[in-house]
């Protein structure tokens, strides 16, 4: 037996950690009736048992811990939320990190970058307003739908404009666990958008609901954006809010589809007080 169901089962075996494979009902019922997949599962269990310890067996260089402690000691006591510190820390990092073959996205003129990024995202917003169907944020926003929207707009813009956006790729860090101000927001699954076939995501996008408000939230990297939260309007008059994360690493652009944008702005400003 080696049909599509078996292929799906084997992919499931590949994608679940060993402890979950043991308790997964879908797997259990298939493996009882399919000796080939059963054999595959046993093989994978044996393979994983032997591979994992070997993967973790990496000798740690002597003195590494002390080096890290030394380089991070300056950061231990300061209030890390202050932007001045971020600048200082960036300088510390610049000195400590060995120059590498860095991707072409250098941090150029911050203002120019923000203007370009803002323009790019604002353009996306205009397209989205015509095409977006508000959905329950609990439902998953499909990658294809989000990407189609962004790519449609991307084709009308100079690719260099998108290229100037920093690689983002922090949708988990930002929206999943670390941004306290978004912890109360109900969000659809975040879709990381890679606009130029690069593995890094320049933009992350999701639908949200927060108390009486709902809409679309776009997140991208904008370390240099030094703006306070503000409200603007799209070409067709829809409210758009922009602000940055408390750590200053990310910029948010929020299309408010339901609820008063002014009141949401006040709420967001409260987090900055």
């Amino acid at each position: 037996m080696n049909n599509q169901e078996c292929d799906e089962i084997r992919q499931r075996i590949d994608c679940l950690p060993a402890r979950e494979r043991e308790t997964d009902d879908v797997l259990s019922s298939h493996l009882m009736d399919c000796p080939e997949c059963h054999k595959y599962a046993e093989f994978q269990n044996s393979f994983d048992r032997q591979l994992r310890p070997q993967l973790l067996e990496v000798a740690i260089p002597e003195g590494l811990k002390e080096q890290i402690l030394q380089s991070t000691s300056a950061l231990d006591d300061c209030d890390l939320s202050e932007s001045e510190d971020s600048v200082q820390n960036a300088e510390v990092e610049a000195e400590l990190v060995r120059p590498a073959t860095v991707r072409q996205h250098q941090r150029g003129s911050s203002l120019l970058k923000w203007v370009i990024a803002g323009t790019a995202v604002a353009s996306v917003i205009v397209v989205m307003m015509f095409q977006w169907t508000p959905a329950d944020p609990q439902q998953r926003l499909t990658y294809d739908a989000a990407k189609d929207l962004l790519l449609a707009q991307f084709q009308e813009m100079s690719p260099e404009e998108w290229d100037r956006l920093s690689p983002f790729d922090q949708s988990f860090e930002t929206l999943g666990i670390v941004d306290p101000q978004l912890s109360e927001w109900t969000r659809s699954e975040t879709v990381g958008m890679s606009l130029d076939d690069d593995p890094q995501h320049e933009v992350a996008i999701c639908e949200f609901r927060f108390r009486q408000w709902s809409g679309v939230l776009i997140t991208f990297s904008a370390d240099e954006f030094d703006g306070v939260p503000e409200q603007s309007y799209s070409a067709s008059g829809q409210s758009v809010l922009q602000w940055r994360s408390p750590g200053g690493d990310l910029a948010y652009v929020c299309i408010v589809e339901q609820g008063s944008a002014e009141e949401l702005l006040t709420e967001i400003l409260g987090n900055f007080a």
Binding site: E20, L55, L75, D85, R103, I177, G247
Partner: protein, 193 residues
């Protein structure tokens, strides 16, 4: 409020003490170089220290640290299209699961990992390091779970294929060695390259 959040995460010293070894191991498996792994580890902790007040769930700190390593790594690498295309073309046999003992050496393992492009390798490493499945990996990396499933499954198949093939090769070599053919192991490895 700030200090409340900070209290979720221990001091920088504790953060380093608790996680530096795992972060380094992950960085080494990802980059394939001890020098790069040292840089990545240093850089990741600097970034993590700046952002540590933002962490809300202390149980997920290590996964969070590993994604910082990965993001830092990505910033230093150009995407290698040829490597990706070559990897995606690798044929994987689907019906040979008899072996239950693998004896791959360190060099073979890291060589096999080095041939896996980053966006396949990161889910694979997170799977083994964190012992998490496709849903958690998708959350960590911010990529759709369907994409995680296909990448993880592909990465695991190719790695298994390469390590088992290597295993078979070395078994054959040993058999031939025992027949007084000292050149056989070298030729098997050369053939593989």
């Amino acid at each position: 409020m700030q200090s409340e959040r900070s209290s979720h995460l221990n001091s920088v010293g504790d953060l380093v003490e608790d996680h530096y070894a795992d972060v380094y191991r992950f960085a080494y498996r990802l980059s394939g170089s001890h020098a790069d792994a040292e840089d990545l580890t240093q850089q990741a902790f600097l970034t993590a220290c700046r952002k540590r007040y933002q962490v809300q769930d202390p149980d997920r700190i290590r996964g969070w640290l590993l994604t910082i390593v990965r993001n830092t790594f990505l910033k230093t690498r150009q995407r290698d299209e040829r490597m990706i295309a070559a990897f995606e073309d690798v044929a994987v046999s689907s019906n040979d699961f008899d072996s239950d003992t693998f004896r791959f050496d360190e060099e073979t393992l890291q060589k096999a990992l080095n041939e896996i492009p980053e966006h396949y390798k990161t889910p694979l490493l997170l799977y083994y390091f964190e012992e998490i499945g496709y849903k958690e990996i998708g959350e960590l990396l911010g990529i759709p779970i369907g994409t995680v499933m296909s990448r993880l499954s592909r990465a695991r198949s190719v790695l298994r294929e390469r390590l088992c093939r290597e295993n078979e090769t070395s078994e054959i070599s040993e058999t031939e060695d025992s027949r007084n053919n000292p050149a056989s192991e070298v030729s098997a490895k050369q053939k593989d390259q």
